[in-house]
């Protein structure tokens, strides 16, 4: 620091970036969310080249670069591939979720890829890789990923 700034207290300029933003979900996610909201059904898209079923569904197969034109029903039960437990109330965690928050990467039966979601109705120390879980649907569904409330262990 040069002498001319001696005794100058560094200032902070406080601000907040807050821009309303509307994401058009597109045809593929819209179909997925409408089915989830209205029928409590989970659907994925299938690549006709490699036969992989993608969840969450998307229009293009990330491996084959071809359009996924087939829709398939996916089970609401699956297997935990990996998980974590937040012990700190990170800023990104929604207000209605308090630590410990458990997220799992869950491969549902009938899908070839895993989805992220909450694991609940279980103590963090009892969660294991490979455990079987089942979707619990939310009451007032609005067509968002949180129309699934969480996944709970299969008894």
């Amino acid at each position: 620091m040069s002498d001319q700034f001696k005794g100058i207290e560094p200032m902070v300029y406080n601000s907040k970036i807050n821009v309303p933003y509307s994401w058009w979900a597109g045809d593929t996610a819209s179909k997925f969310y409408i089915t989830l909201r209205d029928e409590k059904k989970i659907m994925g898209t299938k690549c006709t080249a490699c036969n992989k079923v993608f969840l969450p569904p998307r229009k293009v197969c990330p491996s084959c670069f071809t359009e996924n034109t087939q829709w398939v029903n996916i089970s609401d039960e699956g297997t935990v591939i990996t998980f974590t437990v937040a012990r700190r109330q990170f800023a990104a965690i929604p207000n209605d979720r308090k630590v410990p928050v458990i997220w799992g990467m869950i491969k549902l039966d009938g899908a070839d890829t895993a989805m992220l979601h909450y694991l609940d109705e279980i103590k963090p120390e009892n969660v294991t890789i490979g455990m079987r879980v089942k979707a619990v649907f939310s009451e007032g569904r609005k067509g968002t990923i949180r129309d699934i409330s969480h996944f709970k262990p299969v008894k």
Binding site: M1, F5, P10, V12, S15, I17, W23, A25, G26, A29, F54, L55, P56, P62, I81, T82, F83, T84, V85, A86, R87, R88, F90, A91, A92, I93, P94, R97, V101, W103, M105, K107, T113, A114, M115, L116, H117, Y118, P124, I129, T144, I145, R146
Partner: protein
């Protein structure tokens, strides 16, 4: 193919909170240090590549705000959003393009000014995933568990990475967290997101690094010993975490293979003398080493225990202290690159390793290492 060399490097000290510097102030410092290191003036620079992230900087077109401090006035200036190694890759291609001979590459960020959990949450897909509230730490914690489950790497081994790298940082005055700590300290530090404890995670940091990349026709024209780019590649994997086997980094294996092939490296375990690897979290150092073929599958933890990656070991890894000791996002890969350049030149000071003819630099961008960039640098052309 024509060759390119790195002929100058400059870095600010990495700090928790650079209250006296704006982004441009940091860039000004790093650029002047790089010019001085190279023995160049700004007039010797043909074009500029800046590396930054709009979200981290809290503004759009963040690159343009540091153009003045990069000496980009009246020059072609372009921006890369990603790790600094990606900026260096682009800078290299420009120096080899025939349009320019010398490229100044900068990378900057200030983690101190925002909320990293919210910034990295924004890397998740907004329609399918973002509302669940995960961020970089929780995504990497999932990956850590997945990697440990597959390889049987232990919490003790992860802790040893932290002990080693914070210890190395004691030899590097540019680092933020030089610390003499024990495995016990790491294992008793706060659990942040299972299985990652506080000392398994890199800190939030401010910093800027700059490198100058020259075409071979002018590489020897200036003061500094050129360090040659012998191989480089970057590859990306699927965006959605659930599409990948998180315990693996297929894109890194690909990138490393291609970089080795380009550099004529047949046995990386024997031919690489020193490596700076993206250790944002402890498990990553072990996992990336394996995925790059610098350790056998599921063996990095065991080799670490034997001291092979120590500063005086078979393959010193993150001798500079790594990102665990200071992690300015985006700039990170340029700090790693500068550290390897200094090793090869023999002027790494306190963290100089004994043999450093061939070095590896590794940069990462995206959640859980979605994409990877690998550089092979060498003393000889």
């Amino acid at each position: 193919m024509d060759r390119a060399a790195i002929i100058g490097v400059g870095m600010t000290k990495i700090e928790k909170n650079k209250v006296r510097d704006t982004f441009a102030d940091m860039v000004w410092e790093a650029v002047n240090k790089a010019l001085s290191d190279a023995g160049m003036t700004i007039d010797d620079i043909d074009n500029v590549v800046t590396t930054s992230s709009d979200f981290w900087d809290g503004r759009t077109i963040s690159c343009m705000a540091v153009g003045d401090a990069s000496g980009a006035a009246h020059k072609n200036v372009s921006c890369v959003e990603g790790d600094g190694t990606y900026g260096a890759f682009y800078g290299m291609t420009r120096s080899l393009s025939g349009s320019y001979k010398t490229t100044l590459v900068t990378g900057h960020s200030k983690g101190s000014q925002s909320v990293s959990s919210l910034i990295t949450n924004s890397a998740f897909d907004p329609i399918y995933e973002r509302a669940l509230g995960m961020d970089m730490v929780t995504a990497c914690a999932m990956q850590a568990r997945s990697y440990m489950h597959r390889t049987k790497a232990t919490p003790q081994q992860l802790a040893m990475v932290s002990v080693k790298n914070h210890g190395n940082a004691l030899r590097n005055p540019l680092t933020q967290l030089p610390m003499k700590i024990t495995v016990k300290d790491v294992l008793e530090s706060e659990m942040i997101a299972d299985p990652l404890r506080k000392l398994n995670c890199s800190p939030i940091s401010d910093g800027c690094a700059a490198v100058i990349i020259a075409h071979e026709s002018v590489a020897a024209k200036f003061k500094q010993k050129p360090v040659w780019i012998k191989g480089v590649s970057f590859c990306a994997d699927s965006f959605f975490l659930g599409d990948r086997d998180l315990s693996r980094a297929r894109s890194l294996t690909e990138a490393a293979k291609k970089a080795y092939a380009m550099a004529g490296i047949k046995d990386p375990k024997k031919e690489i003398d020193v490596a700076e690897i993206y250790d944002a979290f402890t498990y990553q150092e072990l996992m990336w080493l394996e995925e790059m073929g610098l350790a056998d599958d599921a063996m990095a933890g065991k080799l670490l225990e034997k001291g092979e990656f120590n500063i005086d070991g078979r393959l010193p890894v993150n001798a500079s202290g790594g990102l665990l000791s200071g992690h300015p996002v985006i700039a990170a890969g340029l700090y790693s690159m500068a550290a390897v350049v200094r090793q090869i030149r023999g002027d790494a000071g306190g963290f100089q390793v004994k043999k450093a003819k061939t070095g590896l630099v590794h940069g990462v961008n995206g959640l859980g290492g979605q994409s990877h960039c690998v550089f092979i640098l060498d003393k000889d052309k």
